[in-house]
Symmetry: C2
Subunit: 489 residues, 2 copies
């Protein structure tokens, strides 16, 4: 198995595709830019969704569902948002096919079934949701309105890659309405913190929290908060964003409320989202040349028990006993009862699919009262008494979770640089890209010039950036804090 995966050192991009397809996370589809999410990939998404959903509920949000289609007249109402998405949207123009009179057995669009107003397949739902909120919000008593939606969206991307950038993807989008700007900003910051916590505690992926520059903001936002993670090739990946939308959508859709002081006011908004892109991030943050490495808290299967050298009633009985003890501890486990393949093949297969802990269970070992545990992250193997195995595995899963985070953090630190000279900036990005903290003069012009010269963009202005006098890395103009530059997915 392992030999079918291109090593990272040879071609990182091909390695990523190999992992995605060979581990069975996704498959290509007949639809341009759209992937099929296979059972392993979807189970991973379900685990992410369940944890995120719990976090959203704990912060007071409820789920709802809004239509897939946005009528063109609503889509264009908020100008910046419309401008940002108009060039990449799928448009429904007809509602019927008919038999093609020329080609028997073929269908064609029925020209008589043209829609009076075209429908855009949602690339994001602000327009449709704020058009609805107008009917839901009348008084300060109706605020805050804290709603989340789990849905599919479509953005007609020219270059696509599985999970990272697909025409259709799955995501959640929170859309909240507030009485004051301060409350809306606090909400956007809260959800930004929720995303960071999810990335770090569940995905074992350290992130830099910051704000986007004006140039990189969400179309229609006043401020965009982002979490940025480093991948193993040193590139950054934007893993989640939370937007303070000001009153832009409230004004576009005339959403007003009567305040406690009996004044009519426009409502303040936020929106925030993460998507199946997180699966791509997870792959690129942790996996190796033998396959997936999944953090135990999200792994669909946490423990697999492999009988050695092959299944038998006695080994299965021992495995069942162990699985019972594991399930009591809420550990997701299974027994590999396949009779056709040898242990070595199975080991490679489970490694490819990223199962965090493998238990080898053999007749001779059992007689001595031991089983063998193997960690996916470090490849260590060791024997433990069978009676202590469940507790040891429970501890091991936490250890692996912690180790993946620590390893990713170490990698990020080793690939983060404070850079003060343009030649260093260019050299580092050319030799071995990473996170570059440098001064910037605050203009979009300079930001774009740097992108043109190096392909690096400002990933964010870190929230925890210290005030520090310095000079713009490109123009030498004065700057008061460093921003994070990187090449990005």
């Amino acid at each position: 198995m392992a030999k079918e995966i291109t090593p990272r050192s040879e071609d990182y991009s091909q390695w990523y595709n190999d992992i995605v397809y060979r581990a069975g996370l996704a498959d290509q589809s007949a639809v341009r830019g759209c992937m099929v999410i296979k059972p392993l990939g979807y189970a991973l998404w379900e685990n992410m969704r369940n944890e995120l959903d719990r976090m959203f509920r704990e912060t007071g949000h409820v789920n709802a569902y809004f239509p897939l289609f946005v009528p063109r007249s609503l889509f264009e109402a908020e100008e910046k948002n419309a401008e940002g998405f108009a060039k990449e949207c799928a448009v429904v123009t007809h509602y019927r096919l008919k038999n093609d009179p020329v080609n028997k057995g073929k269908l064609m669009v029925d020209p008589e079934a043209r829609l009076e107003e075209e429908l855009v397949v949602r690339p994001t739902s602000e327009a449709l949701i704020w058009n609805t909120y107008r009917d839901w919000i009348h008084s300060y008593r109706d605020l805050p309105l804290l709603i989340n939606q789990w849905a599919n969206v479509v953005r007609w991307e020219m270059r696509t890659r599985p999970f990272l950038r697909t025409t259709e993807f799955l995501w959640q989008e929170g859309h909240t309405a507030h009485a004051t700007a301060a409350e809306a900003i606090a909400e956007a910051e809260q959800m930004h913190a929720v995303y960071a916590r999810f990335a770090e505690e569940y995905m074992a992926m350290p992130v830099i929290k910051g704000c986007k520059t004006e140039n990189e903001r969400f179309a229609g936002a006043e401020d965009t908060y982002t979490i940025e993670a480093i991948m193993q090739d040193g590139k950054a990946l934007q893993a989640g964003t939370s937007h303070f939308l000001g009153q832009n959508f409230a004004r576009a859709f005339e959403v007003k409320y009567l305040s406690e002081e009996n004044r009519e006011e426009y409502v303040w908004a936020t929106s925030w989202g993460v998507s199946t892109r997180l699966i791509g991030a997870l792959v690129m943050a942790h996996s190796d040349d033998d396959g997936l490495i999944l953090p135990p808290r999200l792994a669909p299967l946490q423990v697999v028990i492999v009988p050695i050298p092959k299944p038998s009633a006695e080994l299965e009985a021992a495995a069942n006993k162990l699985m019972e003890a594991l399930r009591v501890r809420n550990i997701r486990c299974s027994y590999d009862r396949d009779e056709k393949n040898r242990p070595g093949f199975k080991f490679a297969e489970h490694e490819l699919r990223g199962v965090p802990v493998r238990v080898g269970i053999g007749q001779r070992d059992l007689e001595q009262g031991v089983v063998e545990l193997a960690r996916r992250d470090t490849r260590e193997k060791f024997q433990v008494p069978v009676d202590a195995a469940a507790d040891r595995i429970a501890g091991l899963l936490e250890e692996i979770q912690g180790n993946l985070y620590a390893r990713a953090l170490t990698f990020r630190e080793a690939n983060s640089h404070r850079v003060d000279r343009w030649e260093d900036f260019e050299r580092i990005l050319g030799e071995r890209p990473g996170f570059l903290y440098a001064h910037w003069d605050g203009t979009t012009e300079t930001e774009e010039k740097i992108k043109e010269l190096t392909k690096a963009t400002i990933r964010c202005i870190p929230l925890d950036a210290e005030q520090e006098e310095g000079q713009c890395i490109l123009t030498g103009k004065p700057s008061s804090r460093r921003v994070l530059f990187a090449k990005a997915y």
Copy 2:
């Protein structure tokens, strides 16, 4: 509140809409035929989804996700399926909008961004999935393939009603592949039984299990199994279908496998689905003129505690203690701490939203160590010792679940008729529609003639129909068993 709902006796159809909108299950949207599913409606769908998903897993299925779009050439490959859906599908023809040069600030479809091949928004996913299965299935070892998908689908319906018939709806669609016809039929029957069990045990809605006539089958199926429930106006509602697809899709998409005997064979298929339509069924099966009545097993909120006459620290402390005891029993409960409205208003509000049990908690009652319980289904109220309340409520929820089922079953029996004479058939359908068991000569011609004359259709050929010699209700031709006729949603 209650006064805003049209009584069933006055206008059943308006009553249904009133319940849906006033109880906050759904809202109309700006998109023709599409609804917004509001938090209460969506929470109900989540509870349904969770139980169904568990049942699907217990029967060996896994979830995956396939693209929203079906390229026209795939859509048309299975002829009957294509014919069945071509007239009601949304078609994406362009992938970009541009600024309208005539109307400033407006957008228009960019004629230069026309797709070479149109994309149909999936009305169902057989075509796309079987096109994918061709790559996944090679040998008998790859079978059975048991996959389910939770997704949105679009069917361009001319007349829509919230939940019952909407242009976009949420559903699950199972798509399985098997080595033999017998296995595929067993799968279709198994999922049919799962749906029936879900309807009866969770929705408290008795169903008739049967097969569709050829005329009413799913487009592309060899056999369609259905569950049919009676609504309070005597009409039938098809609540879930499971299809034996034969080799139709395997042939259309060239999906073959190598058998154990080393022969190339076409694969056998099933598909099965239920949708947000079930929410409409739930409303129409149980609710009354005061609002929703929800079966406890699916109710998002099972118990609400109302302080009488108004919230106080002491009452909240008592409520918290009770809620703790309820949560230990996995009962979903909340405390109504709204200060603005009086108990009578709150009672009506919780009744409208269908909360199965209301607990009234007052200062004087508490001193005497009692609280008042009120059942939503029978409107009975009684006092119980506060220390016994959690246990009593747990029992009461089961009682209510059972009572709703029994009530619905009694209603169905009272509205089911064995009919042997055409004049009785017409009279009953005219006076008070219900389930009519009558003989039928087995021809599509007669079936359609009956529909034309009475609007009743053959809902199914019940699985448990006894062999019985008789004469067709319309033509007098010989028949060997009764079929179920009804007007239907």
